[in-house]
């Protein structure tokens, strides 16, 4: 029983890592810019498709037709050779194998540019508009983005293999001195968990230890005063939107080996990420992270057969149930500041 609980806890941490990362980006935007961004899920999805695009470029093939051989339906056999392998030999093969982590290098500039473009082109004009209109325009943007992805990449999920070295499971139990083989967990999921901790730590350190971050935090607390001090807050806010979109994008890139991305991925995560943010407290970064892990762990435990035997269907609604209870009992969320978006 102990090992079952420990496994479920691990699973919760791994799920929570994804939730926390998505919620972090959403909260960055909401906390600094005051914008309710319904396109945030779409940014996550775009990040995932950076990985897809990167791999598709890497695996471009030359096709030569061999007329001497026939395939089973009587056509000449096609022989395909990946270009990268042709150019770089073994290094090309390694590159293809590690395409998902390597595509982070592509995703960072792409997501930053996209984020900045959206902020300058569209979101900027909605700072002063009511939240309802922000929701609507970003919702529209999300639809447009996912439909563009659909028309480029098709409607079907595109599997992204993880590097061969990280396939399979790690024997966690043996590491902490239990019988080997009792607690095993997929390596990539552990990588994802550590990755999310790294990103979260990086964002927090950035906000805490740099002057830039200090100004942004000041802006989050009192935008007007900071503006009166003669600091150009609007450029910094553009940067923050870019940062949030990079965080969302990277969360998406690393998620692809766990779930083959399709164009609808963002919408599937959108509702969830809002629930996480609300539970954590609108505008609170630590709150978003804590709520992400909390909800991940709760969801994982709610899926245990023993729990479902007591409350049927709890695994389906636990996240929403927690959100409803928190909103009704403690509308500020877990760690939200008083007065943010409160009625």
């Amino acid at each position: 029983m102990f090992d079952a609980i420990l496994l479920q806890f691990l699973n919760g941490l791994d799920k929570g890592g994804a939730y926390a990362l998505i919620a972090l980006g959403l909260t960055l935007v909401f906390g600094t810019l005051g914008v309710v961004n319904f396109a945030h899920g779409a940014l996550f999805m775009l990040g995932a498709f950076c990985a897809v695009a990167f791999r598709q470029i890497l695996t471009l093939e030359t096709v030569t037709i061999d007329p001497t051989q026939l395939n089973p339906w009587g056509q000449p056999l096609e022989i395909r050779t990946p270009l990268v392998q042709g150019w770089f030999g073994d290094f090309g093969a390694v590159l293809v194998d590690w395409s998902v982590p390597v595509s982070i290098l592509l995703a960072i500039p792409v997501m930053a540019l996209l984020g900045i473009a959206f902020e300058r082109g569209l979101i900027k004009h909605f700072y002063k508009r009511p939240h309802a209109e922000q929701i609507l325009v970003t919702f529209g943007l999300a639809i447009v983005l996912q439909e563009i992805v659909k028309s480029v990449f098709g409607a079907n999920p595109i599997p992204q293999p993880m590097p061969a070295a990280l396939q399979g499971a790690a024997d966690i139990g043996a590491l902490i001195g239990l019988t080997p083989g009792v607690i095993t967990y997929p390596l990539w999921r552990l990588v994802y968990f550590l990755f999310s901790l790294g990103i979260i730590g990086g964002v927090f350190a950035f906000l805490r230890f740099t002057t830039f971050g200090m100004v942004v935090r000041a802006g989050m607390a009192d935008r007007e005063t900071v503006g009166l001090l003669g600091i150009n807050i609007s450029r910094r806010f553009t940067f923050m939107f870019g940062l949030a979109s990079v965080v969302a994008g990277l969360a998406g890139v690393m998620y692809t080996p766990l779930l083959p991305p399709n164009y609808h991925l963002g919408m599937d995560f959108l509702v969830l990420s809002f629930v996480v943010v609300v539970v954590g407290g609108m505008g609170s970064l630590p709150g978003a992270v804590a709520a992400g892990f909390l909800l991940g762990i709760l969801q994982s435990f709610a899926s245990m057969t023993e729990v479902k035997a007591i409350v049927p269907g709890i695994d389906q609604i636990i996240i929403y149930l927690v959100a409803v209870v928190i909103l009704l009992v403690r509308p500020r969320g877990l760690l939200g500041r008083r007065g943010v978006m409160e009625a």
Partner: protein, 385 residues
């Protein structure tokens, strides 16, 4: 005429609007025919979703509360209606009454809890409740909802009332109204009459003191509080009415096609009615209905355009160029119709916050600017903060 005005107790202006609206709805089979949309199933969808959107607008348009979970009431109405068919009778009246009552109770519970918060918190609460309903309908409530397959009629349903009244014909029965089978055009006209009735109620609410009170909630709830008004009961009342409209629409969906599926409750379905309302013009009387027609038209007609149809449409373009044109246009119609919808939606929110109705008003005012300045500011979406 004067007699009618007093009987319906409408202002002359509202009465004219009601008559024009009714005529436009009933004549849909004629004026939609050139657009390839005049077949019963789609016409039914037009009017049913118009009811849904008009009801949603009562809440969002008047009070500014943005519900992202309204589809739950539509779904509840559908399930209730199909159960009424299965247990009681294939007659539409008990199904309608049952559905409206169930969705009303459902809305009362959700509304009571959700209205304790406002702004985005209200939106998230309604969203969470709707998602819970959807997920439960999909899984553990399967005995009631038949899960993903959807609730359907069966040959051996009890149908107590019908069987008490005499032997049943062979095969699956069809929903009817006092013996009149509600399929095809009959079904459409029935739904259309319900829509006109719903529209009449809406017009009444808009012009009543109650409607005025709701608009006051939208413009400044705090001030209302300081003046000693408790706004909650008003907001809750309109929430329930709005939920009942949704239930009514859900029941009509079940009446014209006796099947209820859980996906009707999904949050994207709630998002769709938001799109309809905004696109048509939030806070206006006719706008939401117009938005519903436009979106359903896109969904059913635009989505069915394939390359073959496009090639015919662009037959005048020279051969080599035609394929390119078809390929580009093909991205926006057929399977890509969502893209067009999303683009239109973004453009509307950015440039035309009052939706199609504001567009119409602007065009109208161009014509009559000479006579008098346009009356009334365009509707703005405002949150209830």
């Amino acid at each position: 005429m004067g007699n009618l005005v007093s009987k319906l107790s409408l202002s002359r202006r509202d009465l004219l609007l009601l008559l024009a609206f009714g005529a436009a709805v009933l004549l849909m089979p004629l004026w939609l025919s050139p657009f390839g949309a005049a077949y019963p199933d789609l016409l039914q969808k037009f009017v049913i979703y118009a009811i849904f959107a008009v009801g949603f607008n009562l809440l969002f348009g008047l009070t500014g509360y943005l519900s992202f979970g309204h589809a739950a009431f539509l779904g509840a109405g559908s399930y209730a209606a199909v159960w009424s068919f299965k247990l009681l009778s294939m007659d539409a009246l008990p199904a309608l009454i049952f559905a409206v009552a169930i969705s009303g109770i459902f809305a009362l519970v959700i509304g009571y809890l959700s209205l304790r918060r406002s702004g985005i918190y209200f939106s998230i609460l309604t969203l969470a409740f709707a998602q819970m309903s959807y997920n439960l309908a999909y899984s553990v409530l399967t005995p009631i909802t038949n899960g993903e397959t959807g609730l359907q009629l069966a040959l051996d349903d009890p149908r107590v009332l019908d069987r008490a009244l005499g032997p049943q014909p062979e095969g699956l029965p069809v929903p009817h109204l006092l013996g009149l089978e509600l399929t095809g055009y009959t079904g459409f006209f029935f739904c259309a009459l319900v829509l006109i009735l719903a529209f009449y109620i809406t017009v009444k609410i808009f012009s009543s003191p109650f409607g005025l009170m709701l608009r006051a909630i939208k413009s400044n709830q705090n001030r209302m509080g300081y003046m000693g008004f408790d706004t909650k009961p008003y907001a809750l009342t309109v929430f329930v009415i709005s939920g009942m409209f949704a239930g009514l629409a859900g029941a009509l969906l079940a009446i014209t096609d006796p099947l209820a599926g859980a996906e009707r409750m999904q949050w994207t379905a709630s998002g769709e009615v938001v799109l309809m309302t905004i696109l048509g013009g939030v806070g206006t009387l006719v706008g939401p209905a117009l938005g519903a027609v436009v979106i359903k038209y896109f969904e059913n007609i635009f989505s069915a355009f394939n390359d073959q149809i496009l090639s015919n449409a662009f037959a005048f373009v020279p051969e080599g160029l035609r394929e390119t044109v078809v390929a580009i246009v093909g991205k926006f119609v057929g399977e890509g119709w969502h893209l067009t919808l999303g683009l239109i939606f973004v453009l509307v929110v950015v440039f035309l916050p009052g939706g199609i109705m504001e567009g119409i008003r602007r065009i109208m005012s161009l014509f009559r600017r000479a006579q008098r300045p346009a009356k009334g500011a365009p509707a703005r979406i405002q949150p209830a903060e």
